[in-house]
Amino acid sequence: MDFSFSEEQTLLRNTIQSFLQDNYDFDSRKAIIQSEDGMSKENWQQLAELGLLGVPFSEADGGLDFGPVETMIVAEEFGKGLVIEPYIQTVVTCGGFLRRASESQRQEHLSKIISGEEIWAFAHAEPQGRFNLSDIKVNASKNNDEYSLNGHKCVVSGAPWAQKLIVSARTSGDQSDKDGISLFIVDKSAEGVSLRDYKTVDGSMASEVTFENVKIDSSSIIGEEGKAYDLIELVVDETIAALCAEAIGAMSVLNDATVEYCKTRKQFGQPIGKFQVLQHRMVDMFMQYEQSVSMTYMVNLKLSEDELERRKAASGAKVQICNASKFIGQSAVQLHGGMGMTDELNVGHYFKRLAMIETQFGNADHHLKKYSSAS
C-alpha cells in the first residue's frame, strides 16, 4: 500500500495549479460567467495544449494514458478553482463512454475531444426518472439502418457548449427496465434536436433537450443495442469519483478561507477564532474534509474492482461527500457572518457549487439506498 503521489502526478498537479493561477482568479472567473458564451474557449484551448483533455485516453487514441488517480488530481484542482469549463462532462463522462466505444468511433471522435475542437455532454436524466439510471422514456425506434429518436432530457449539464451529445434511449422494454437501454452519439445540430439553454445556480450552464424524430444512423450506437445499462452505471461511477475530487478541492478552499477569516476578523476585541464554539466547528469541518479526501482516494482506487465493490465504493464516497459538502458549505457561510451572504465574496460560490454536487448523479439518500442494496 502506498498513498503517495508519483513525481509525474505531482508535476501534473503543478501544471494545473499554475494554469489556474494565471487564468482563473475570482474576477476572471466572474468575467467568464458573465461573458456571452458563459465559458472561455481560450481556456479550453489551453487545457488541450497542456494535454489535460487527453488524460484518461490511451496512447493509441492520442491520450496521456493516465488512470483515475490522475483524473482525480485534475478534478480536485479544478474544484479549487471552481472551474466552469465542462471538463468532467466532456472528458470523464463522455470520454468514459467513448473510451469503450468501437475502434472506428474512437478514431472519429477522440482526437476532436483531445484537441479541444469538440465539447460533449451526456443527456441522460429525465424528469420522471430523477436519479434512477434505468428510468428512461426517451425512445429510439429502429427502421432499417436508422433510428428515430424522440423525447425530453432535462438539465443536461454543459449542453449549451457542446457539439455532440451522448444520449441514452430506450430501444426495448418497459420504462424502468435495465434491459433495453442504448447509447447514441447525436450531433447537436441534427434536425429535430432543440435546446432551451440556461445558466445554473453554480455559474455553469445546462439545457432542456428535446428530440423530435431525430434520425440517427445505426453506426452511431455505442456498444450493443439494448445493453448499455452496465456501461452507464460504470461511467456514472467514474463521474461520481471525479465529482468527489472536485468537491474536496472546493472544500479545501472553504476550510482555508474560513480559518483565515476567523484569525483576522475581530469582534469583542479578539479574533473570532478565539471563540471555542467556532474552533470546534472548524475542527469538525476539517475532520469532515479529511474523511472526504480519504473516501475520494478510496473510490478512485476501487474503480477497477468488480462491479459490486465498485458500486459500493462510489455510493459510499458520494454519501460522505454529500454530507460533508453540506456541513462545510453551510458552516463556511455561517462563520463569515454577513460577508458570507454576499455575492462579492468567493465563499458563497463554493457553497453553491457544493450544493449542486450533492444533487448530481444522486443525493445522499439515493446513494445510501444503493449502498445498502449492494451490501
Partner: protein, 403 residues
C-alpha cells in the same frame, strides 16, 4: 389548560379567512411565489399592509391604546396560523415591530404622535441601522458618530446589511455620541430621514442574486448628515438600553405557523415529484421520515411559543427566552429549505436572474421549483442576522442559565 376553540374563536377564524380571500389577491400571490428572498416589490408590501390596517389588524402585538386590535392569545394564534397558512407577505418589521415598541416605551409624546400613526398606516417605511462593517455581533463597538452641533447632530459613518433601505423613508440608527471606556455607554438612538443630504444607499447583492431593486440588503453611507435634536429617542448615551429592548421584539415572535406552511408545501412537492420506477417522493420512507421528524420538532417549538405568548399581554416583551425561539425557528426553517432542495432533485439547478421580470415566461422545471435553491441559499442569513445563533446561545447560557 385547554386546546379547544370556542364558538367565538371559530367565528373569528372565519372572519380571518374571509379577509384573506378578498385582500390577498391572485396578482399578489403570483408575485410573491416568484420571490427568491422572501420579499416582493414595495408596492405589494404597502398595498397588503394598508388592507390590514384598514381592517384594524396590522399590529396584532400593539396595545389597544396605540391602535392594536386587542386580540386574545387564542385569537392571535388563529390570526398567525391562518395568515401563514395562506402564505401572505410578511409584515415588514422595521417600523411595526422594532422602532414602534421603543417609541412607545421611551419616546416623547410628540414622537409617539408624530411617528406611530404613520407606522400603523404604512405611510412611512423604516429600516434598521444597527450593524456596521466592524460591528456585527459586537454591536457595541459601533463607530458611526453623531456630534452635538447645538441645534442638530452631525452624523458621519456607515451602516451595513441594511435591509430594504432602498425603499425606506426613515432609518433608526445607533450612533456614537461619546467615547467612554465602556463602549455601551456612549451610544444613542437616533431617527434619521433618509432624504437628508449626505446619505448614499448602495446595494449589496446576496447569494440568491436578486438584482436591483429587489436586493435585500444595502450599505448606507452618512457624510455630514444633519439630524435635528428632536430626533433623539430617550436620553443621549442611553441608546444601548433601547437597542436591547428592541432586539427582544426582533427575535421574540412565533415561527411555527410559517414552518407548518413549509411542511405543507414540502408534502405537496413530494406528492408531485416522480422518483422513477413509477413512484413518487411521498412513497420514499427515508424522505418522509426526515420530513416528519422536522414536523415534530416544529410542534415542539410551537408549544414553547404558545406557553411563552399566553403568559404575555400585548406590548410586553418576551425576555431572553426570545433567543430560544429565534434559534430553533431559524434552524428549522433552514432544515425545511434543505429538504426542499433535496426534494426537487435536478430542478434545483436552473438559475433565474430576475424571477419578477420573467413572469410571463414558462419556468424551466415545475413552477414551484424555481425559487427553492435561491431561497435555500438566501435562508442561510437567518442564523446570522438579528444576532447570530452563536450569540443567541451565548445569551441563553448567560441570561437564562447563569453560566
Amino acid at each position: 389548560m385547554d386546546l379547544n376553540f370556542n364558538q367565538a374563536d371559530i367565528d373569528f377564524r372565519n372572519e380571518v379567512r374571509d379577509f384573506i380571500k378578498t385582500s390577498y389577491t391572485s396578482e399578489m400571490k403570483a408575485e410573491l411565489r416568484r420571490s427568491k428572498n422572501g420579499s416582493a416589490s414595495k408596492d405589494l408590501h404597502v398595498k397588503w399592509q394598508k388592507s390590514l390596517y384598514e381592517k384594524g389588524w396590522i399590529a396584532p402585538n400593539w396595545p389597544v391604546e396605540h391602535g392594536g386590535p386587542g386580540f386574545t392569545t387564542t385569537q392571535n394564534y388563529i390570526f398567525e396560523t391562518e395568515m401563514a397558512h395562506a402564505g401572505v407577505p410578511r409584515t415588514v418589521p422595521f417600523g411595526l415591530s422594532m422602532v414602534a415598541p421603543v417609541l412607545m416605551e421611551f419616546g416623547t409624546e410628540e414622537q409617539k404622535n408624530k411617528y406611530l400613526p404613520d407606522i400603523l398606516a404604512t405611510n412611512v417605511w423604516w429600516c434598521q441601522g444597527y450593524s456596521e462593517p466592524g460591528a456585527g455581533s459586537d454591536l457595541a463597538s459601533l463607530q458611526c458618530k453623531a456630534e452635538d452641533k447645538g441645534d442638530h447632530y452631525l452624523v458621519n459613518g456607515t451602516k451595513i446589511w441594511t435591509t430594504m433601505a432602498q425603499h425606506a423613508d426613515m432609518i433608526f440608527c445607533l450612533v456614537r455620541t461619546s467615547k467612554t471606556d465602556k463602549p455601551q455607554s456612549g451610544i444613542s438612538f437616533l431617527l434619521i430621514d433618509m432624504k437628508s443630504e449626505g446619505i448614499d444607499v448602495r446595494p449589496l447583492i446576496t447569494l440568491d442574486q436578486s438584482p436591483e431593486p429587489y436586493q435585500e440588503v444595502n450599505q448606507v453611507f452618512f457624510e455630514d448628515v444633519k439630524v435635528p435634536k428632536e430626533n433623539l429617542v430617550g436620553e443621549e448615551n442611553k441608546g444601548w438600553t433601547y437597542a436591547k429592548y428592541l432586539l427582544e421584539f426582533e427575535r421574540g415572535n412565533s415561527y411555527s405557523p410559517t414552518l407548518y406552511r413549509g411542511i405543507e408545501k414540502l408534502k405537496s412537492i413530494a406528492k408531485e415529484t416522480s422518483i422513477g420506477n413509477g413512484e413518487n417522493l411521498i412513497d420514499d420512507s427515508d424522505f418522509i421520515n426526515k420530513l416528519n421528524k422536522c414536523e415534530i420538532e416544529i410542534q415542539a417549538l410551537e408549544f414553547v411559543e404558545l406557553r411563552i405568548f399566553s403568559a404575555l399581554s400585548a406590548g410586553q416583551r418576551v425576555g431572553p427566552e426570545s433567543s430560544i425561539l429565534k434559534t430553533r425557528g431559524t434552524e428549522l426553517q433552514q432544515k425545511l429549505q434543505e429538504l426542499s432542495v433535496e426534494a426537487i432533485g435536478y430542478w434545483a439547478s436552473p438559475f433565474v436572474y430576475d424571477t419578477f421580470a420573467n413572469i410571463n415566461e414558462p419556468s424551466i422545471g415545475p413552477d414551484y421549483a424555481m425559487t427553492i435553491a435561491p431561497s435555500y441559499f438566501n435562508g442561510r442569513k437567518t442564523t446570522i442576522y438579528a444576532g447570530s445563533n452563536e450569540i443567541q446561545r451565548n445569551i441563553i447560557s448567560k441570561a437564562v442559565l447563569g453560566l
